[in-house]
Symmetry: C2
Subunit: 501 residues, 2 copies
């Protein structure tokens, strides 16, 4: 390796260490920390973030980057060295554009607003949240001004989907909308009723924890490289390529979380576990984008975990931990229960089909806010109208409407579309896997998940963040982002389940 | 507060945050981390240590320190501001004396030597460890040369007991030796036999964990500010004044660890939990010294936990978790079992009386090595002779002799005496507490530990690291470090138990 590349890797390794140390502090805060530790933990996290930022945006790092770039000497675009320089250069230039004061203002306003949102949601009081939302949008405007963009939304989208542009996302989500709205209507009109009551009842936490552990152990994660813990809002976190923290929660009256939410978080963990260890401690040691990360959590959760072949395995696991309830339930009955479609108010409870309509709704509203076609004060009316238009239901109050999600309150705009982009990418990678693995269904039915994992690791996970989303999709499929595979798969699966023609 | 003090607190807060983040990473490594995470964790810890050191020894911090010192303007010696400047100045000047290369060499050699020691102990092969020991002692010589000291051992002692000098420690430990050797002989000659077999047997891990939890909950720790986890080598760690991590292990054939080792670690945690919150994120947020820290773990473990009044409470807890074994055991029987004295080869298994002889032995050998009166190659013979002289037993092999402890292998010289200094200080603070709390025995018997804790917090814990050991002992007792209270207490307690005159 060139001396100039080695010299660049030194400070980048330190920045990575600081960020991953912060990742562990965050994991601990949400899983283990004694509650009285919160105040000093916030200081510790702020210090790690500040020092990591300072070191990353330094002039010295710019000089090392220049030297490394000169040393490349025609290295291939997808080589470690060229990718390192390209991605670091992009991150470095972007990070230097945002003044430290503005970044601090955004962080502070998000934190204040989150507390205000909690109270406002509690009382279903949008008016109390409105001034915070207005302040956050004003800060977003100042953030957008730091960049040269064709569309203001491009600036925030780029934080989650590097290089992706607003018109491209609008086109993909528009096609998705056009495909899903009629499908949801057909399902609603179907005479088939799916009964998912077997998933509801009383499930003791201890048996659920044992169930969740067995489910996680059934996933092809590297042995000795992960752990599973309880938390309030489940997440997965990578402290290293071989140090993965999966979290879940156990709902006393619903067993689905201990099954599918665990597979979802394992999907994120498998992605990071599959990154080439050579990329560790570099800016390349990450997923392509939030959408790509989500594509894998959703592919493992929905395509594998809610697919007919693997549901048979889950039935056997359920029967071991809750024999009274699941001992005599057939795999087909569980498959149907796992795939009930029903338009509902709350995004996080939505099924695989209607989920994307929740996202499209939020994306369209974010766009209207950023284009100043919609005033923040008019957001609840616009929300309620769109829910009716897309899902055909009425919103009874703002708590189960516009106030339901934390994202906007935390200042995260441009984040929501990544969920549906994830589903779109999952549809495309699933199609690839099916073609590459002719015995996939038999393997899943036998609980052999490693061939699927190895295929995805080779084609996607191992490359980490070397490529931007558009380039990665092109490398995978030879074409662009395309919602058609997802729509085809949903129509086939739910058409069969709901007896559609 | 003066602007110059506030300006100094800013970088000191960041250094504290980095050190405590490292503390959490270390806790996680020893309690939660998936084993495959070890390699990248070592990098993360090295980066945090390096950045904390760089920031602390910077010229910029020196300038802030000068300005803060000028702003003091006659502030009282024990004020927050004067203490902050005094302690920071001392740490800063000391840290700047050690070249970064030497510090790195010592860290690296210690890590290599620890691995060599593990193998050498396994095979009881001192010759295999000898070159590492020689290298470590050579590095210690170079370390000592960084300082201007009257005695080479002063330099290493000062790392653990700030300001303490070798002759003072030699005098205290010499008196302790003179008092303990005859006491141990008298006990050995006594016709009284204490039977501690009730503490040995089969104890399932789950019941031991519940027992340990109840014991920890009986200690006057701040609610919501601590947690208890399993590890291999128990320790306590403070991530913040209100974020304390207590650890223990459960031995399948001995229940004593789940009782007294937990109280020991809670003692460390109570000390840090009692530090004035104003000192958080400053160099004052620590115990006076390692000896002071150990004084409190041992006072809670031995004076409270193995004292007659509180043993009655422990008997009731034991009976709840192991009713078959302890349901019909009397408190007096448990008290006697908890206090059996028997000279033995292994320090960590030693009782309250002989423990100090293990320490005195190590201190005398360290001194001989540092004064170059003893060659490292002659260490095993010297060790075996001293064990025979002090404890009256023969050492069968180096694994249960000179190779038993990790300290020297890790490059920690000057550390051992702090264990006995801790016992000496525990004896002095216990005498103070007895005088101040006339109902102490009744309170302990009733499980009311808060009055004792509050007394110690006010007099000792709250001051953190404001004062050096000698000054703190003077503030507490009006006199110097004195082994007489410890010797009086041991003679009284064990004289009664063993029927000595």
């Amino acid at each position: 390796m060139q001396a100039a590349i080695r010299a660049l890797l030194e400070p980048l390794g330190q920045v990575s260490d600081l960020n991953h140390a912060a990742g562990l502090l965050g994991w601990d805060e949400r899983t283990k920390m004694p509650p009285r530790g919160a105040a000093v933990r916030a200081e510790q996290l702020a210090t790690l973030a500040r020092i990591a930022h300072e070191r990353f945006v330094s002039d010295e790092l710019g000089r090392l980057l220049d030297a490394a770039e000169e040393s490349l000497d025609g290295a291939a675009e997808d080589s470690f060295e060229a990718s390192l320089v390209r991605v670091t250069r992009r991150d470095w230039e972007k990070a230097r554009r945002v003044p430290a004061d503005l970044a601090a203002d955004i962080a502070r306003a998000g934190s204040q607003s989150e507390r205000a949102w909690e109270e406002a949601r509690e009382r279903s009081d949008f008016a109390a949240f409105l001034p915070h939302l207005e302040r956050l949008l004003e800060l977003q405007r100042r953030y957008v001004e730091c960049f040269e963009v064709d569309h203001p939304y491009d600036a925030v989208l780029d934080d989650y989907e590097p290089g992706m542009k607003t018109p491209a996302v609008a086109e993909v989500l528009g096609k998705l909308r056009d495909g899903l709205v009629p499908l949801v209507k057909e399902i609603a009109a179907s005479s088939v009723e799916i009964d998912d009551s077997i998933l509801y009842g009383e499930f003791d936490a201890e048996s659920q924890a044992a169930l969740a552990r067995e489910v996680a152990e059934a996933m092809p994660l590297e042995p000795g490289a992960w752990r599973l813990d309880e938390t309030v809002h489940p997440f997965a976190s990578a402290i290293g390529v071989s140090d993965l923290r999966i979290t879940t929660r156990y709902e006393p009256d619903f067993v689905g979380t201990a099954l599918w939410a665990v597979i979802h978080e394992c999907g994120h963990a498998m992605y990071h576990n599959g990154i080439d260890p050579q990329l560790e401690r570099t800016p390349l040691c990450r997923s392509v984008s939030l959408g790509f990360d989500e594509s894998q959590s959703r592919m493992w959760e929905n395509w594998v975990g809610r697919g007919r072949p693997f549901v048979g395995r889950l039935q056997a696991i359920l029967a071991r931990h809750f024999p009274d309830r699941f001992g005599s339930v057939g795999a087909e009955e569980l498959y149907r229960a796992a795939n009930r479609v029903r338009p509902s108010l709350i995004r996080v409870d939505a099924d695989e089909v209607t989920y994307n309509l929740h996202i499209i709704l939020r994306f369209e509203l974010e766009l209207a806010l950023f284009e100043e076609r919609l005033a923040p004060a008019d957001l609840p009316d616009a929300w309620n109208a769109k829910v009716n238009e897309l899902l055909g239901i009425e919103v009874p109050d703002d708590a189960s409407g516009v106030l339901q999600d934390v994202h906007w309150a935390a200042g995260a705009f441009g984040y929501f579309p990544t969920y549906s982009l994830g589903n779109v990418i999952a549809g495309q990678t699933w199609e690839l896997a099916r073609e590459a693995l002719p015995d996939l269904d038999d393997q899943l039915a036998a609980g052999e998940l490693k061939p699927l994992r190895d295929f995805l690791a080779e084609r996607l996970y191992s490359h980490g963040g070397k490529f931007e989303p558009a380039a990665m999709i092109e490398r995978l499929t030879g074409g662009p982002l395309d919602p058609e595979p997802l729509l085809r798969q949903l129509r086939a699966k739910f058409g069969e389940l709901y007896g559609l023609t």
